[in-house]
């Protein structure tokens, strides 16, 4: 069978794959930007998560506190 036989079906399959993969990549990129911009907007208005306001906990803070006590 010649390589060019049914070339339209092969091209259509690869085009469909390219479209589906492109849509998925664009979806995650656009969604990421949208969520980041929403968070930035809300934080500008003064709304932040309580855990974000606390200083990061040191890994051995409990042990150190016990030693200090």
């Amino acid at each position: 069978m010649e390589t060019t036989a049914h070339i339209d079906f092969i091209a259509a399959a690869y085009a469909a794959a390219a479209i589906v993969i492109a849509v998925l990549i664009l979806w995650v990129i656009i969604d990421y930007r949208a969520q980041r911009s929403k968070i930035a907007e809300l934080e500008k208005q003064g709304f932040t998560r309580r855990s974000a306001e606390r200083p990061p906990r040191q890994p051995n803070s409990v042990e150190q506190a016990k030693e200090q006590a």
Partner: protein, 242 residues
């Protein structure tokens, strides 16, 4: 970093920010190599060049099923252990699984027309694969129906575990019923029936598709965690306004 530390969404976000760009780069390189090998592969002695559709169809089918298997494991994580990232994983994975299952059906139809003389036939393999796509759409719809993510997660987890019964049906449909779709030819007792010069590019393409899936899944999980943070902040905003 211990594996259990990844259960913390903040730590997961930090890790994802570092890993995703590298993973995306590796995916592009592997995909370019795999695609070059697929294009250079010889034609099949019976099917001719249409065998090149296999390099898209088989990895898509594999990912459609792998994704539901992953969602089933995440469903157990939600129902049994209430793992913080389990329902995030399940929600992020569903659209990816739906996309790859759709691609499997489309490429299968485009392969079937020149080989079988028809785009579609209601045989067991094709029908069970279509059922998988409908299950994905049902899961996506259920996520959108229930506003509270933790309540939606439990309902989706039950549906996911019930839907998992479709996976062995898809896999063994060609053995249990008389189907137009061919039987297992890659992983089977007695070895693959595909000649190595055609089989190796298939493995490379499957690897590339799997890497793409992992990259997209991590990115979608990061987006879902951010979406939940937006929801928390919006609830704080609404409370402050009232």
């Amino acid at each position: 970093m211990a594996l259990v530390d990844l259960a913390n969404p903040s730590r997961f976000l930090k890790l994802a920010d570092h890993v995703i760009p590298w993973l995306a780069g590796v995916t592009v390189l592997i995909a370019a190599f795999a695609l070059a090998r697929a294009m250079a592969a010889p034609d099949d002695y019976q099917q001719g060049a249409t065998v090149k559709i296999m390099y898209l169809h088989v990895p898509s089918a594999w990912l459609g099923m792998l994704c539901w298997g992953l969602m089933s494991a995440a469903a157990l994580g939600t129902l049994v252990w209430r793992h913080p990232l389990a329902d995030v994983t399940a929600k992020a994975a569903a659209p990816l699984g739906a996309a790859f299952t759709l691609l499997c059906l489309v490429t299968g139809s485009l392969w079937g027309r020149p080989e079988w003389g028809t785009y579609w036939v209601w045989d067991a393999r094709l029908t069970s694969e279509l059922v998988l796509l409908l299950l994905y759409l049902a899961v996506i719809a259920l996520w959108r129906t229930v506003e509270d993510p933790s309540r939606a997660a439990r309902a989706v987890a039950v549906l996911t575990l019930v839907g998992a019964i479709d996976l062995p049906i898809i896999k063994f449909s060609v053995d249990w019923w008389n189907t137009l779709h061919q039987g297992a030819s890659v992983f089977r007792l007695g070895g693959s029936t595909i000649y190595p010069t055609i089989l190796m590019p298939l493995f490379f393409m499957t690897g590339a598709f799997t890497l793409l899936f992992v990259t997209l899944l991590l990115a979608a999980m990061r987006n879902e965690i951010l979406r939940r943070r937006v929801r928390t902040l919006q609830l704080m905003q609404a409370k402050a306004a009232s």
